[in-house]
């Protein structure tokens, strides 16, 4: 066996895969060739060094909590054992599932997506481009999406912006809505709203820091009702609900229709608190009330925590120069901002979670 052949057998022999006669020939060569013997020694030593440098490591004690907190912070839901922001919803939905004959899987899938939609499938008439939005009526049903850049750029990109620049006012009405980001595939990841195209990296450096949205420090709580209706025709009932909501100036998020095959629709509707009573009654009349649960959630703490995260991320983003890190940070910032804006809006409104089943 020549050196060349011997060297080529190294990988196989390291894995103990040489046939006995090959192995013999190999060893014989090594016995006669100091160079190959040395090289073989080095190969083995490398493997041994790697294996011996393995340190038994364990995750830190509070690792699982950290994961849950990270998930909670991104979704606005604290998925802890003892409850959290939407534990009431989960209990409510679970009760509804127990009472009604619907597949748990499909309902659960809907709950996984609760409050996580970026854009509604049903949208109120979008505002005209260049028409300033009235500050008193919050944008119904629109996902509040911050501008990517200050409107110093003259182009009005086709994202349906209003003239009002994003000065980060707490009122959501100054923020231009973004079109649906195509978020109807059941994905839970939150994606940032579409921005004007950046074609090369140098543009990123040139863009001035985006103004962060400003949020007031105040107690916030979300009042809500879970209304579970049995209806003859789910699609029809949904249309009726949407019409009622439209008449009362409510905003709607249609949840993903679960693909489990069961006839269930879940709608999240935000309405002016003053009209909450009337609205809920009208919805209830669309079918047979299987379950109703009223809830009031104090989200002040969650809001504060998310706000802190948001501000910390912005500070980091302002220091960051690496484009890939920037992209990651921008994603996180956008999703937190989405959550904060949504909470801000929801705290001012009354939310009805309408579950329609056949």
């Amino acid at each position: 066996m020549k050196c060349l052949d011997a060297r080529q057998l190294f990988p196989a022999h390291l894995d103990g895969e040489l046939a006995p006669n090959e192995a013999l020939a190999f060893e014989a060569h090594l016995a006669a060739c100091t160079a190959c013997a040395g090289e073989w020694r080095l190969e083995q030593a490398l493997g041994t060094a790697l294996r011996e440098s393995v340190e038994p490591v364990a995750a830190p004690a509070d690792f699982a909590q950290g994961v849950l907190a990270a998930i909670g912070a991104q979704r606005g839901v604290q998925p802890t054992e003892s409850g959290g922001l939407f534990a009431g919803w989960r209990r409510g939905l679970a009760a509804a599932a127990a009472l009604a004959v619907i597949s748990t899987a499909s309902l659960g899938y809907a709950s996984l997506h609760l409050f996580n939609r970026l854009g509604p499938a049903v949208v109120q008439k979008p505002p005209e481009v260049n028409e300033p939005l009235p500050p008193t009526t919050p944008e119904p049903g629109m996902p509040v999406a911050p501008q990517g850049e200050p409107s110093g750029g003259a182009d009005a990109p086709d994202v349906g912006e209003s003239n009002a620049p994003d000065t980060g006012a707490g009122s959501t009405s100054n923020v231009a809505p973004a079109p649906n980001s195509g978020a109807n595939t059941g994905k839970t990841t939150v994606t940032p709203p579409p921005r004007p195209e950046r074609t090369n990296n140098t543009q990123i450096a040139a863009v001035p820091d985006r103004e962060p949205a400003v949020f007031l420090n105040k107690p916030r709580s979300i009042e809500s009702t879970l209304l579970n209706l049995k209806v003859n025709n789910v699609v029809q009932a949904r249309e009726q609900a949407i019409r009622v909501a439209g008449e009362m100036g409510a905003g709607i998020y249609v949840q993903d229709v679960p693909s489990g095959g069961a006839q269930v629709e879940v709608l999240e509707i935000n309405v002016d608190p003053a009209q909450a009573g009337t609205f809920t009654s009208r919805l209830a009349s669309l079918g047979q009330v299987v379950h109703r649960q009223d809830d009031r959630m104090d989200i002040t703490r969650q809001f504060e925590e998310t706000l802190e995260d948001y501000q910390a991320l912005i500070a980091r983003r302002n220091r960051e120069s690496n484009p890939q890190e920037l992209a990651v940070l921008e994603n996180l910032i956008a999703s937190k901002e989405q959550q904060l804006l949504k909470w801000d809006r929801d705290a001012e409104r009354y939310t009805v979670m309408l579950v329609l089943q056949q």
């Binding site: 020549k2 050196c3 060349l4 060297r7 080529q8 190294f10 990988p11 390291l14 060739c33 100091t34 160079a35 190959c36 013997a37 040395g38 090289e39 073989w40 020694r41 080095l42 190969e43 030593a45 490398l46 493997g47 060094a49 790697l50 294996r51 011996e52 440098s53 393995v54 340190e55 038994p56 490591v57 364990a58 995750a59 830190p60 690792f63 699982a64 950290g66 994961v67 849950l68 990270a70 998930i71 991104q74 998925p79 802890t80 054992e81 989960r90 748990t104 899987a105 659960g108 899938y109 709950s111 996984l112 059941g186 994905k187 839970t188 990841t189 690496n322 890939q324 890190e325 990651v328």
Partner: protein, 214 residues
Amino acid sequence: MDDVNKLVRRAQRGDADAYAELVRRYQDKIYGLGYHLAGNHADAEDLAQEAFVKAYYALGSFRLEADFGTWLHRITVNLWINVRRRERPVVSLDEPVKTDEGEIQRELPGTADGPQEVLEQKEFQWFVRRALRQISREHRVVLVLREMQGYSYEEIARVLDCSLGTVKSRISRARIALKEKACSLADEAGVVLPGREYQNDVEPGAAAEAGRRA
């Protein structure tokens, strides 16, 4: 596995407790993988946490016939390969070599005329770890999975979602890359790696040729 599948199904339906339990069951493995890939605890924690968060969001796409642990490993590996974070600074040559008697400052033997010393085991290991940090991420991944986590070729193929043949050739090339890197680091330091004392006796061109053919 059935137990894990139950947890995964529950987690897919939004049961946070179930997901918390899954995290607890796999955290050491994933953290360990992260640690050996990234080389330090801080990055390992970031990477592992990110992997579990990403897995949570991707639960909907996880098919229950697959192995959850393998899936987690794949997410971790892909995260590490694809998301290039600023690497913490590579250990410098002045890093003291740890011995049982305490840390000693390593002294480089003179390269000019003095005899080159063959590295002792612990120093050699230090070179190898450093070399591991400097080869490409694709190569590092397979070496960590194979030599450090001890996975079989089949398991690695499942994690990387490629064929057995690809795994074998990737590991082969990774070993060569590691060896070359370790040797060049050694040359810089003026030391000789074990086995290389008699380099001159090899048939001319054999080493390079073997490397090319692998």
